[in-house]
Symmetry: C2
Subunit: 571 residues, 2 copies
């Protein structure tokens, strides 16, 4: 049996490790700057592939990521599997019932945000194809149809993430945008599948082949949204009841996705289309357990997706193929018509002027989906490397614009998070004081010194509040707090006392863990939000003991972040 | 860039789907018969590969699983990745601190269960190699060393699973066995790595190469168990504190495993060795969050491991290479010396006669590890197909013997599980009765009819108990119960009443869900255990409402299984 030599294995694991490592680090950095992770992940491939490493050290780049031979095939196999699983997850995230619940407004936005960019994209690509770098040997109709699709597709995952960051995901506006994006996703992929079918047809197989592919595509999509969906919904309880939990459900989802993907590849459109439809059908079932969804989501989002997006950067040289006028043209088309499309739909749905523009900017993200569509078009020979690079760049730029633009228009209330208010300099592992008054003085002093606050003012404010009513909440925790003028953002000083301090708690226990919460006077909600987050931490019985065992700020922050995320999911 | 054609992609996804599907179904069936899942997963490959499908429909088998070309490479790449991740998980499961805690007895069993089979395995392979089917061109020393290692290796995952099934995992005896198996695993893999190093050396690279490989192997193992382990322990809190939870931790573990695997492949031993050592170092850190461990474990155990074990069956024809005398010889050697080795160690540790034999049988499982060692030896050319098949068969047989033999010796108390006492015929979706007396009569009747019990006797026993003290436990649940003579196993009848029945519950709520628990009189603990399991279900606030929404027995069982498993993990 033909198989990998030890050298192939060594190289495959090394290159996967490097690809995943760089992609994850850059993805994390992108998120620190409130950008989608996919921006960093793509950049990893650009750094490791022909663009950067390939021009600095061509030998090393080709050694790690060879363009031909066994290792090229191995990496392609793994990244193909990765994209199939990623689209399955994207499908699972699609919640069809949202569209029905949200009703007309979402549908209107969905329709205009597809029809308008599609129509104008088609016109431009049809009448001035040379402006978009069309190659001579590509059929004009296919090229125009592809451009039209690429202009109108949206990136549901990126859009959903942006809405969550802005705390708008569950708002009315958020639901309109999400349902529009779901509609957009489904229609967009079906149209794109039909376009791919047309190519296969024109490459010498005749009209019958085209029609058969298109009919089968639409039939399969129709099946998955009706009978297939119901069948899966009926089968899930059997799988849960008669197999080991949660392995049965997990395998069931993956096996169906693999078969769906294989089937759509067979009928002449891409595998990811089947994976997406199967994912949508599975995710739509109320029987799918949250735990299974989370396991698949974590493994795919943090392992497979970064590998796939990084591998895109390995395929193309982003510097030599960077064509500024082309990038600008594509960017202008996408921004103009997607923005107008989304905004008009929202106005049509009788939303306010401001909300309509917000919807328009929300629908702007082309994100990961635009990149995938571009990649498939590149591989199918519809577009050249220059247009592919332009599409990737525009996908990234629109995803980066979307969130900040919405923030500018809406000026939403900031989502206050405890972890943003913690600083290593505001962590006192061992408090010296033993009385309540002294401890407050000790921790206030630390905050004032590090952040240049007026010691007397803060100290007296905190003590005044403390004297009025003790802030010992029991379970060994106390939460002294105050609102202070001229503070830019909330600060939380954490002090730990192994001996304990009497904060006059209702349960009579000494307080070992003191959180001093200092918030700006002009954002009253920040105090309440942060106090509630601290109190929620201690619903977990073991939290008090775990915090006493931390040795330094990093341990403490690690505990807060991993526990608070866990408890959110469990709620 | 060399890559998969659409046909390759279609075929890869199809063959993966079939391989995973058949492996998981047979794995589940194996577990229904209380056998390790790996037995069914291996069988899947035997069915789909040259052994069965290959002789019934050779064209189809070769179409799905080609022996050469792009798809063979793609499948090999994915199954190589799968085995690397599987060994990482096996490493994470290894808890080094268990060895220290358990102390001398575990260590004694660990030593004797390696030394005795190793010594006698070596002697037999050295003096009568032809009995074990040694090929002419294999160096006698390497062959003897390999046989010695293969005879002494244990399968920690299978052993741990068997102990859990018998409810012995946390017992003293269980801890002795687990710590011995961990010791055995670590020493076994290091010795095997050295043997692999020797082969590389003898294939023309000279003595320096051998020594360098062996030194690097031992140095790497030593590093991972000391400095590497501590470094990971120090780094984990940083990863948790400064990356998104839980993605950072998940990727960190996988990236390290990939690098470790690549490194050991590079020094001339197999990649899985590095993955195992990295896994052991990561799993040893108390900072690793349970949630991350579970996510990795589920995805690898239910997706990657089945694909890998099934792919083994694709490589060899298990019928033509089945050599009965050889299988019997290997089986005799393994059974005799591993059994003696484990038992002597336990006696040496002053355990009782009965407990010592139990330990001996527990250590008998060669399981998955034996198969992996055999596969590596086959690929390295140390053994032929016939010996490989014999090793696989013996690995399976020993894993199948181990549990039942321990059960025979110990006659442990049966682990009563609610789900085993539920039957679709004992599920009444809509109770007709509306009074407590009538409802009890109605559900008792169903049980007596289906299982031929004496209606009058059971009815009066249940009612007697009910009259003495109401069994309404509140939250809308009642648990009438009785112990009955001549019953083979516990029965639970479930009755649902949308209107509700007054069971005089402490919270005054009507009972909508009635569990009638009938247990055998001679197993008093079965009643308590099952009642406790039902009560625990309703700690989850949403459980009552979810049960009322179930439409049939399958829905109900699915709910019970997925919720109760979830709550166990959360505890």
């Amino acid at each position: 049996m033909e198989k990998l030599t030890p050298h192939n294995i060594m190289l495959m694991l090394l290159s996967l490790g490097i690809l995943l490592g760089v992609a994850r680090v850059l993805g994390e950095i992108a998120q620190k700057f409130r950008q989608p992770a996919v921006v960093g992940e793509l950049l990893a491939g650009v750094l490791l592939g022909p663009t950067v490493l390939g021009s600095l050290a061509p030998g090393l780049s080709l050694f790690l990521f060879p363009q031909s031979g066994t290792n090229a095939i191995a990496l392609d196999a793994i990244s193909t599997l990765a994209i199939v699983l990623f689209l399955m997850v994207a499908g699972i995230e699609v919640d069809l019932s949202t569209i029905w619940k949200q009703g007309r407004v979402g549908l209107k936005v969905g329709i205009t945000s597809i029809v308008i960019p599609f129509f104008f994209g088609f016109l431009i690509a049809w009448f001035i194809p040379q402006a978009l770098g069309k190659e001579q040997d590509v059929t004009p109709l296919i090229f125009a149809l592809f451009i039209a699709t690429a202009m109108s597709i949206s990136a549901l995952p990126v859009i959903a993430k942006t809405l969550m960051d802005l705390d708008l995901y569950r708002s009315d506006l958020g639901m309109v945008v999400v349902s529009a994006a779901i509609f957009n996703d489904i229609v967009g992929w079906i149209v794109f599948a039909v376009v791919l079918g047309l190519i296969d047809g024109t490459s010498g197989e005749g009209a019958n082949q085209i029609i058969s592919t298109i009919v089968m595509t639409i039939a399969f999509a129709g099946f998955m949204f009706t009978a297939g969906r119901m069948l899966i919904h009926k089968m899930l309880p059997f799988v849960q009841a008669y197999t080991r939990w949660p392995g049965g459900e997990l395998s069931f989802a993956l096996i169906l996705a693999l078969f769906g993907a294989s089937f759509t590849e067979w009928i002449g459109i891409h595998a990811i289309f089947g994976a997406f439809l199967v994912g949508a059908a599975i995710g739509d079932s109320s029987h799918l357990r949250e735990r299974t969804r989370v396991t698949i989501d974590h493994f795919v989002s943090f392992i497979f997706a970064p590998v796939f997006f990084a591998s895109i950067g390995l395929k193309v040289d982003f510097v030599t193929n960077f064509d500024f006028p082309l990038v600008l043209t594509v960017l202008m088309i996408v921004c103009t018509f997607k923005l107008i499309g989304g905004t008009i739909g929202a106005k049509w749905g009788k939303m306010s002027f401001r909300a309509s523009w917000t919807v328009g900017f929300a629908m702007l993200s082309v994100g990961a989906m635009g990149i995938i569509v571009g990649l498939l078009a590149l591989e199918a020979g519809i577009i050249n490397h220059r247009l592919f690079v332009a599409l990737v760049v525009v996908a990234i730029i629109t995803s980066m614009i979307s969130g900040p633009a919405m923030r500018l228009i809406l000026k939403p209330a900031k989502a206050w998070r405890l972890e943003d208010a913690l600083f290593s300099k505001l962590f006192i592992r061992e408090l010296k004081s033993i009385s309540r008054r002294d401890v407050i003085h000790e921790i206030v002093q630390v905050a004032c010194k590090e952040f240049n606050l007026d010691l007397n003012e803060v100290d007296s404010l905190v003590w005044e509040r403390e004297s009025a009513l003790s802030t010992g909440i029991g379970k060994g925790v106390a939460l002294p707090h105050a609102r202070v003028k001229d503070l830019a953002y909330p600060l939380v000083v954490v002090g730990i006392s192994d001996t304990g301090i009497d904060f006059d708690s209702p349960d009579g226990r000494l307080a070992n863990i003191i959180f001093l919460v200092i918030t700006p006077r002009d954002t009253p909600d920040s105090q309440i939000t942060i106090l509630a987050q601290i109190a929620r931490l201690f619903r977990n019985q073991a939290m008090h003991q775990s915090i006493l065992q931390t040795k330094n700020f990093t341990d403490f922050l690690a505990l807060i972040k991993s526990r608070s995320a866990g408890s959110k999911e469990d709620e």
